[in-house]
């Protein structure tokens, strides 16, 4: 996966800013995408391109269980969120619904990656290449079950 970075240098980016409450009644995935990140960055949907990555701090996706949050990001074109850590429901929604990859990175990668950098993510090698800065970072490997669900293409395709 190759794409460029949209970086939010902050912790606790919650589901209320990823997809605000008034839009919870909407279940059209393309329409949800037009409201992605609206509570934090009004220009997100104008800026995001297919294949982009979000880079953020700890506890990404905290708050509500709304699957609208990973759906809105996914249908905006986001392929993966690279964060210091994730809130649990956002993490499992992203994986079980096969919407995007929640990738945990360490503090040094988080600091080093800049907005608009070009990245290449290789989950089989647990590596992130920064093509702009010509550097390589390690990602935290997915736990065994999570890796299997991702490989299967979501929970419904996974056979326990």
């Amino acid at each position: 996966m190759k794409g460029s970075v949209i970086k939010y240098e902050r912790d606790n980016i919650d589901t209320d800013v990823i997809l605000p409450g008034p839009y919870l009644k909407i279940h059209d995935y393309a329409e949800l995408a037009t409201h992605a990140m609206e509570g934090l960055d009004k220009d997100f949907h104008k800026r995001v391109k297919p294949g982009d990555f979000i880079v953020a701090g700890k506890n990404f996706g905290c708050g509500s269980s709304r699957e609208h949050a990973p759906i809105a990001l996914s249908y905006s074109g986001i392929k993966a969120v690279l964060a210091l850590s994730f809130a649990r429901i956002f993490y499992r929604n992203a994986v079980d619904g096969a919407f995007l990859l929640p990738i945990e990175i360490d503090e040094s990668a988080y600091k080093d990656i800049s907005d608009s950098d070009s990245l290449e993510v290789d989950i089989s090698a647990n590596e992130i290449k920064n093509l702009t800065k010509n550097k390589v970072y390690k990602m935290k490997p997915f736990p065994e079950l999570i890796g299997k669900i991702i490989a299967a293409g979501g929970l419904f395709n996974y056979k326990p």
Binding site: N12, D14, D16, V17, P20, G21, P22, L24, K25, I26, H27, Y29, G39, L40, K58, N59, C62, G63, S64, S65, R66, E67, H68, P70, S85, A87, R88, I89, R92, N93, D96, G97, P143, E144, L145, G154, L155, F156, P160
Partner: protein, 424 residues
């Protein structure tokens, strides 16, 4: 050496023993969807049907129950349509427990779960809402899930969980009269942070919890979500048995932790030292003692939600509002019709109306900033709800302070954030 959560998950996964970190597929006893997660689950079903899957039944319609709470009364045409979708869904799949707005008992899902004894001690309960944790106060494993996971449970009757580490919060002695469970849980979240219990279970115990009412315990488990917890739990005791018996339920299979149960960490709080606490915008961890905020002028007080509109919460507000009038816009929305009725029978509604308060129907509307009284730009609200993220209760530049019903009611009277002890 297993704690209650490990024992419930072991039993539900057919194992003698599980340890934190193990991934298990557990059999689910109850599953809940509401008017946001229900249509979300149906969208997942549609996606699966397009891939050729035949979906004409759920695994066990008697274990599924449905609430209408987020967008009732129907906020607009889309919300009205979502209720129709939900109604068609329960009809088609033979789901009998559907609490419908305008037809007797209905209310916020996490309130119905205990008011209607929908979930019992020892059970595994999942719901399409993050505050599903609430029901762990009855001694169940209760956790929130998204649409895909709930759809999976509806079709397969099971779901995966990583067995969580447990943090044990021990309350020594009773809370003082002016302090509520809300103050204690805000204090805890302030101490450990909004990811302080991420992926873990928060268990509550000690003499202070034994003395605490069931409704107060529910306030604690409700807000474990705000510390990032997978679940919150209290071991069932006689108070839980009496509570359930009062709702006609006496048969269930209680689970208790072993006497040498293991916890990742134990935190101790002295009941007598607790004070009224408020969480400032824009995070539940942003806590200070209420008295430090006595200069904050308010536009609105909100007493509602699964967190802060149970009968006991309304009684606390009434204690303050009796014989007084509010200085700012104040709304009180009981969390379920059964509570609304008890508030009427107990004379609480008269106290509220005499004070100038608007009393409204159960809904999640204003708590999640969706409808039924959202905040304007720059407005400041004190609220008995559970979250105060940017834009949570309305305009992105509005502000919400989280507090107990006592603090919210005292603040409604003065128009400024007020410790109930300082009310003249």
């Amino acid at each position: 050496m297993l704690n209650i959560t490990e024992k419930i998950l072991a039993r539900a996964s057919g194992k003698n023993q599980v340890s934190p970190g193990d991934v298990v597929f557990v059999n689910v006893d109850k599953v809940m969807v509401h008017d946001v997660s229900g249509p979300g689950v149906l969208a997942v079903f549609e996606k699966l049907r397009k891939k050729g899957m035949i979906i004409d039944k759920v695994w066990n319609p008697d274990k599924v129950w449905v609430a209408e709470d987020h967008f009732v009364p129907a906020a607009d045409k889309i919300s009205a349509q979502n209720i129709v979708l939900l109604t068609n869904f329960t009809k088609q799949f033979g789901i009998k427990k559907h609490f419908k707005y305008g037809m007797g008992q209905y209310g916020i899902c996490h309130t119905l779960s205990h008011e209607e004894a929908m979930v019992l001690p020892g059970e595994v309960y999942v719901g399409g809402d993050s505050h599903t944790n609430t029901t762990g106060a009855l001694g169940a494993f209760a956790a929130g899930l998204g649409h895909t996971d709930v759809a999976y449970v509806l079709l397969n009757g099971k779901i995966w969980f990583k067995v969580p580490e447990t943090l044990f919060f021990k309350l020594n002695g009773k809370l003082p009269d002016h302090v509520m469970a809300k103050d204690l849980i805000l204090k805890i979240i302030g101490d450990i942070g909004t990811d302080g219990a991420a992926y873990k279970t928060m268990q509550f115990g000690g003499t202070g919890i034994s003395e605490m009412s069931v409704e107060s315990r529910l306030t604690l488990t409700n807000m474990t979500t705000e510390a990032g917890a997978k679940s919150g739990i209290v071991e069932p005791d006689q108070k839980i048995r009496d509570y359930l018996a009062g709702r006609g339920v006496t048969k269930y299979d209680e689970v208790h932790g072993d006497s040498d149960a293991q916890y990742e960490k134990i935190y101790e709080y002295e009941g007598s030292e607790m004070e009224p606490i408020v969480a400032k915008p824009f995070s539940p961890e942003n806590t200070v003692v209420a008295r430090d905020l006595s200069s904050v002028e308010l536009d609105k007080a909100y007493i509602g939600s699964c967190t802060g509109a149970k009968l006991e919460d309304l009684e606390a507000a009434a204690k303050i509002l009796k014989g007084r009038t509010v200085k700012i816009r104040t709304e009180i929305l009981p969390a379920a019709m059964s509570i609304f009725r008890k508030a009427m029978d107990g004379g609480l509604l008269k106290i509220f109306m005499d004070a100038g308060v608007v009393v409204g129907p159960p809904t999640c509307g204003a708590c999640c900033g969706a409808h039924m009284g959202v905040l304007a730009k720059d407005e400041i609200c004190i609220s008995t709800t559970n979250r105060n993220f940017p834009g949570r209760m309305g305009h992105i530049e509005s502000q919400t302070y989280l507090a107990s019903p006592l603090v919210a009611a005292a603040s409604a009277v003065t128009g400024k954030i007020t410790d109930p002890r300082d009310l003249k």
